[in-house]
Amino acid sequence: MAQSSSSLLGNQRVLNSLRTLGLALAIVLIAVIVQSQRPAFLSPENLLTLVRSMVALGMVACAQMLVILLGEIDLSVGAVYGLAATVTATLWLGGGSLPFTVPLLVALAAGLAMALVAGGINGFLTVRAGLPSFITTLGIMNVADGTSLLIGNATTFTPAYNDPLPPEWELDFFHGLGGALMRFDIPVETLWLVAAFILFWILRHRTVFGFRLLAMGGNPEAARVARLPLKKYKYAVFLLSSLMAGIAGILDFSYVGSVGPTQSSALSFQVIAAVVIGGASLNGGRGTIVGTLLGVVLLAMLNNGLALLGVGSFVQLLFIGLVTIAAVWLDLVSQKLIRSAGQRAARSGEAA
C-alpha cells in the first residue's frame, strides 16, 4: 500500500512535468514538416539563425512570464527595448537631440537606467496608485516611445559609420556585447539567451521569490491575508521585465550594428503571445519557464520555417494564425489526456 501510493506520487510529479508535452510535440511536428521540404532547416547555420532570432523574444518573455504569473501584464517592453538602445546610441554617438556625448560605458549605464526607470514607474503606478497594469504599461509604452523619438529624433544610429567615429576599443567592446561571433560563428547574443533561461528557471522554480509569485498570482487576496510582500514583488517583476527589455534592446543594437526608430508594440505582442502559448494564464497563478521557452521556440520556428519555405506574405499570416491555434489546441488535448491517464493510473493504483 505504502509502496503503491508512493509510486503514485512519483507518478503525479511526472504527470505535472509533462504539462507542456503537446506544445513540444507541435514543435517537433513543424520541424519535421519543414525539414522534409527544406533540408537546410536542420543545418547548423540555420539552427544558429533560429536561435539568434529568439534572443530578444526569449529574454523578454522570461521576465514577462513572471509579470503574467502575478496576474499583471507589461505592454511597455517593446517600447523600453527601443528606448534603452536609443538612449545608449544618442548619448554615445550624438546626432540625436542631445547636445553632448558621453563614453560608451556611461551611455550603456544610462540606457539601462532609463529602462529601470520605466519599470519603476510601471511598478509605482500599479502598486501605489492601484491602476490596472494594462493601463499603466500602455501609458508607459507611449511615454517611452515618445521619449525615444524625442531623444533620438528618429535618427538611425550606426556606430561603425558614425561621425566622429568612437574609439576602437569602444566599438570592439560594443560589438562584443552581442554581435561578435565566437567559435563556430555563434554570436555572443545567444549566450545571453541561454544565461537568461537558466537564471529565470532557477528564479521561478527554485527560489522563494518564484514560489511566492505563484501563490500571489493564484490568489492575491489570500496573499494579502497571508501578508506576503505582494507590493515588493510587483515592483520586482516590473523592474525585471523592463531590465530584460533594455538589455535585449542593447544586445540587438550590438548585433544588428545599428538602431533606428522601431515600432514598439510588435515585440510586446509577440512576447505576450509566447508566454500565453507556453501555458501561462493571463489571470495569474500559472506559468513555467519551460513553457515560455517552448512558446518562444514555436513562434521563432514558425517565422523561420515560413521564411525557409519562401511562402508569400499573405499566406504566411494565414499559417501563423492557424498553426498557433493548432499548437495550443494540441497542447490542451494532450494535457487532458495526460490528466485522465493520471486519474486512471490513480484508480488502478488504488485497486492494486
Binding site: A40, E45, S53, V256, G257, G260, P261, T262, A266, A307
Partner: protein, 345 residues
C-alpha cells in the same frame, strides 16, 4: 508689410476644375502673418524616411521664407495608422490651421475625399511619395516607382553582366509586399532586369514578394532573409524594395556568401553604402525623402506668392542611383556618403 497674393493664385484653373484660394489666407498674408505650411506624412517615426523628411521640410521652409513668412510643421502618426491620420487632417482643416498642405496618404487615392475637402476650403494640396491622382491635388512629388524599379533592374543587370556574376535565380522581398509602391518597384525591377536578361528566372513575382518585417527594421530582415537564403542556394540575387536592403547585405556578409550572392534595393544608410562599397549590394536607389518633402514646401510658397504651379502634376524626382563606382547618371559610394550626411544634418 504683408504679402500680396496675386490673382492667379486666388483663383486657378486646374485640370479638375477651378480652385479658389480661401480669402482668409489672402487676408492673413496681407497682414504679414505667417503662412502655415503643413507636411502630413504616413509615419513620422519610420526609419530613415521620418528623419529625412523632417530635414527636407526644414530645408524647404528656409527657401519658402525667402518668399513669404512661413511656419512649416510636420504632422502625421508616428507609425502608419489610417484612421488617426485622417482624423488629424480633419481636425487641422476645420480649425483653420493649414494654409497649404503637402500630404503623403497611406495608400494611393486613399485620402481623395479629405484632399477634396481641403481644396474646397481653398487650401492648395500637394502630394508626396504616395499619390492621389483622382483627388484635387496640385502636383505629386516622388519617384516614379515603376520607373525607379526599372532603372534599378537595368543597372543591376548591367553590373551582373559586366562582372560576370552567375545569377541562377532572383528573389524579390519587401518590408511591405502588400503595398502598391513596393509592388511597383518589384514590377519595375523585373521589367528592367529582363530588358538585359530576357530569360532571367525569378523565384517569385511582384505580387508575392517575400515579407521581411512590416516595421522596416534590420532585425526583422535578419530573421526572415537569413533562413530564406540558407534554404535557397539557387537564389543568388535578392532585390529588396526598401530600407531592409541593409539587412540583406548583413545576411550575405553573415552567411559568408559575399561574392556569391548579391542584392539590390532602395534607400541609403551607412551600412548600405558599406555593402555597396564591398560589392555585395550592386545598386541602391536613394529616394531622396528629403527632396520629396522639400519640393512641395517650396512649391507652396511659390504658389501663394506667384500663383505658379507645375504644368505637369507628376513631378517625378530623379532617382539617385548609387553604385560602387558610379557612372552615367549614377553616383559612387563617396558621393553618396556626402549626400547622406547632408540629408540628415
Amino acid at each position: 508689410a504683408g504679402v500680396t497674393v496675386p490673382d492667379s493664385a486666388k483663383t486657378h484653373t486646374m485640370p479638375w476644375g477651378e480652385f479658389k484660394l480661401a480669402p482668409r489666407i489672402v487676408e492673413k498674408l496681407a497682414k504679414g502673418e505667417k503662412a502655415n505650411i503643413v507636411v502630413g506624412i504616413e509615419g513620422t517615426g519610420l526609419p530613415i524616411q521620418g528623419a529625412e523628411m523632417r530635414m527636407g521640410t526644414a530645408k524647404g521652409c528656409e527657401t519658402a521664407n525667402t518668399m513669404l513668412p512661413a511656419d512649416c510643421r510636420m504632422v502625421g502618426p508616428v507609425n502608419p495608422d489610417t484612421t488617426q491620420q485622417l482624423a488629424e487632417l480633419e481636425t487641422l482643416l476645420n480649425s483653420g490651421q493649414v494654409d497649404c498642405l503637402a500630404l503623403q496618404p497611406p495608400l494611393p487615392n486613399q485620402f481623395t475625399a479629405i484632399i477634396n475637402k481641403y481644396a474646397a476650403a481653398g487650401i492648395p494640396v500637394f502630394t508626396l511619395n504616395i499619390d492621389a491622382p483622382k483627388a484635387k491635388r496640385f502636383a505629386f512629388y516622388a519617384l516614379n516607382e515603376v520607373q525607379a524599379g526599372t532603372i534599378n533592374g537595368e543597372e543591376t543587370a548591367k553590373l551582373v553582366k559586366a562582372q560576370g556574376i552567375d545569377v541562377k535565380e532572383i528573389a524579390l522581398g519587401s518590408g511591405a509586399p502588400d503595398q502598391p509602391w513596393a509592388q511597383a518597384r518589384m514590377e519595375g525591377f523585373i521589367k528592367g532586369y529582363k530588358s538585359v536578361f530576357p530569360d532571367a528566372k525569378f523565384f517569385n513575382d511582384a505580387k508575392s514578394g517575400i515579407p521581411t518585417g512590416k516595421n522596416f527594421t534590420t532585425q526583422e530582415v535578419l530573421n526572415s532573409v537569413t533562413p530564406f537564403l540558407t534554404a535557397h542556394p539557387e537564389v543568388t540575387l535578392f532585390f529588396h524594395t526598401d530600407q531592409g536592403v541593409e539587412g540583406v547585405g548583413n545576411v550575405i556578409r553573415n552567411l559568408k556568401l559575399g561574392g556569391k550572392v548579391f542584392t539590390s534595393g532602395f534607400n541609403v544608410s551607412g551600412a548600405i553604402l558599406d555593402s555597396v562599397g564591398a560589392g555585395t549590394t550592386l545598386v541602391t536607389i536613394d529616394q531622396g525623402f528629403d527632396n520629396q518633402a522639400q519640393a512641395p514646401v517650396e512649391q507652396c510658397a511659390k504658389y501663394l506668392t506667384t500663383g505658379e504651379t507645375p504644368a505637369d502634376p507628376l513631378q517625378y524626382l530623379r532617382p539617385i542611383v548609387i553604385t560602387q563606382k558610379g557612372g552615367d547618371a549614377q553616383i559612387d559610394v563617396d558621393a553618396a556618403r556626402a549626400r547622406l550626411k547632408a540629408a540628415s544634418n
